[in-house]
Amino acid sequence: MTTLQEPATSPEIGGIGHSVKRQEDDRFIQGGGTYVDDVVLPNMAHMAILASPFAHAEIKSIDTAAAAAVPGVIAVVTGELLAEHNLAWMPTLSGDTQAVLATDKVRFQGQEVAAVIAEDPYVARDAVLLIDVDYEPLAPITSPQQGLEPDAPIIRTDKEDQTDNVVYDWEAGDEAATDAAFAQAVNVVELETFYPRSHPAPLETCAVVADLNPITGKATIYLTSQAPHAHRTLFALVAGLPEQNIRIISPDIGGGFGNKVPIYPGYVVATAASLLLGRPVKWVQTRTENLLTTGFARDYHMKGALALDADGRITAMRAEILSDQGAFFADAQPSKFKAGLVHICTGSYDMGAAHVKARGVYTNKAPGGVAYRCSFRVTEASYLIERLADNAAHQIGMDPAAFRMLNFIKPEQFPYESATGFVYDSGDYHTALQKVLDEVDYENLRKEQEDARAEGRYLGIGIASFTEVVGAGPSRDYDIIGLKMFDSAELRIHPTGKAILKLGVKTQGQGHETTFAQIVAEELGIPSTDIAVQEGDTDNTPYGLGTYASRSTPVGGAATAIIARKLRDKARLIAAHLLEANPDDLEWEPGRFFVKGSPDQGSTIQEIAFAAYTNHPEGMEAGLEGVHYYDPPNMTFPFGSYLVVVEVDPETGTWKVDRMVALDDCGVRINPMIVEGQIHGGLTEGFAKSNMQWLTFDEDGNCIGSNFMDYLVPTAYETPKFELLETVTPSPHHPIGAKGVGESPTVGSPAAYVNAVIDALRPFGVTTLDMPILPDRVWAAVKAAD
């Protein structure tokens, strides 16, 4: 199964397997990127938003007179005004409703209450401060446990049928079979852990420039959007605008990580304001607005248990999840899966039964639940099973690596149907972990750890062997509020043999302009530098569901390969016409058809492209263009094994990473340089969550972490150095065998870091710690265990 990867094309063609330098870099390194805030339109007005200081309060009155009187203010917008246009509420991506501007009460700190449109952004901010809102504070609910208390105030009083704070109850797997396995277990391993709220915090905040042309009725909306086509449809549904008159342009995006999947109230208000005023309106979030109001991630309270037999084999798993959803259920995830894909929590292990129960609860915190560099809650799932695996090994006195080797799904079991119903496409977990163990000389490392302990130094070794599930998805199971999760590619080969590839996905730094061109180069032999990739403009690209959940390569990449193959089939017919040969007598080599047995008698793809417009066979449609919509038959299942070595100072509670060895198997690597870059970034975000990055709240619902002084993200100085390894196990159902990689390291690595710190502290009797592992938590755990 595991293969080594050799490029089939020359470096000049730059197909799959070449580390082609990125086409998009030329503009970025010269300051020539165009992000939404760089868009300036004639007569453009600027918007600022008034945020609620309270987490939960009734709105008694809003007085906008003083704000409206500020010279330079054009309009003040309130929820009341929006309500007149039926725009005070909007649907969320999970089919709930969310206030655009609050009318009845505010439900989280930072919630949008009113907006000022002014000639100048400074004036807009001045005027916002003059809006006088009379609030009647209500008791806030700051945890799901509190939200479930019998006398808890109901947050969603706007929903007639809502009699408590429960958002959903959801389950997967077989409860009876799981109970039976647990009843027979020789050992049961339990873990209760909290995966704290985190925020993706891309460096570019969310922004919009809405331009509704009062004469033509055309709405051109520049948007920080990971899913421009889906957003266009939502704008059509929410604002009642005819869809053909809406053009979403998602230009360069300064990082997304899931944060730019939802639609935010500011987008809707700016669009409504542009409609009412007849001029373009720009809104750019402040960092505080970004952290306070936009898509958070995680916030999962998890209980997990493994049933083990006498040999240490896992026979079953139970997971019980309590999810803090915030004030509106705005998870960006497939409608069928209320708790995302958390039921992938059996991970890399073969077991007969599993049962997952999940409950979502409204709280007075920001809505979101986005898949932060993650495929719909797979990060939480992976964290739970990998923490449990370590605890299980220690509980039965087995080495954590040996425990994993014993329980891994075996290569010959693929395709493997998991106890919760996923069909894993391919994998070789033993080889992956073994390679990592060999790299660090694991046995010797354990000995070093022993020796260090004797000297009073506390080294810890943490392993995580994750399996991800990405590439949503087969449309029979996967949709976002009804929109099926296929994706598309349109390829236009011009007469001179150069090409434009148009996609329904949308890059935010992943390098699509390079990698997708490489897929075409692989299939057609056109040099990748002769191919321009276009994304993000809904007027000029085919429909697709966008880029998140590592779905671009699995779905958009497959669409690209298939449309290129379809055009190659047509190219064969044109070549046969040019060569006066039977199409079946032609052979293909990268960039050229030739007559079998006569290699000098051939036509290059460039010659064929020219003929498609100048000399195509009679009876054939002219041109060499086409579009393909790809509906994947299955998800893809990237995997890997990570090993972290840390040293912990139990006196101060600080810890540092000595080594981070990461093996990723994402199937076929289109551009190894870009894949490694994605892994570096993901490992850093995993480190961030384990070490410092969390979004927390006080008992009044005030967000502690509303700026980059309080919400810490790692600098170069804290970030560890990474050692990367790879195996290549192609996806059998993907046209080029690729699986997706951007999120694997964020999914897999947090457990490795945490397991390492706990491993270092086991001599003190420490068995659990929650993220982020701050020095005071380490210090307290050591003291408590003493």
Binding site: K21, P200, F708, A716
Partner: protein, 160 residues
Amino acid sequence: MEVNVTINGAARTAEVEARTLLVDFIRTNLSLTGTHIGCDTTSCGVCTVLLDGTPVKSCTMFAFQADGHEIQTVEGLKNGELHPIQAAFKEEHGLQCGFCTPGMMLVGKALLEENLNPTDDEVRWAISGNLCRCTGYMNIVKAIQTAGAELSAAESGATA
């Protein structure tokens, strides 16, 4: 009030309010949008420019404080050819979304003016006021070191 600066070698003047931040002056009044805004608290560094050769965060200065000074932004790095730091960022895959890149390159350039051969730790310290959410920094460090080696080779070539 009137603010006069020399930016990327050209004299520019604009009439602004006293409270106008340098970053807004550069982006709005001078229409140089390669300098970005990311945080408002001097934490992220995407607004970094060189003021008389020294990296400053332009979101934390008023435009008038730059009056009479020389500013370099990302738009001024290329001088006919790409500056070695620009070439190295592409070569070493030192950028992904590109949002932090202008600031990172300018800080890297300033570091290399003092030290053409910085260690990994020295680079990491120098760029620790600039955040990147995409790359994990390893390739940024490599890019700055590669540019240093390039500049160093050019220097010794020039003196040989």
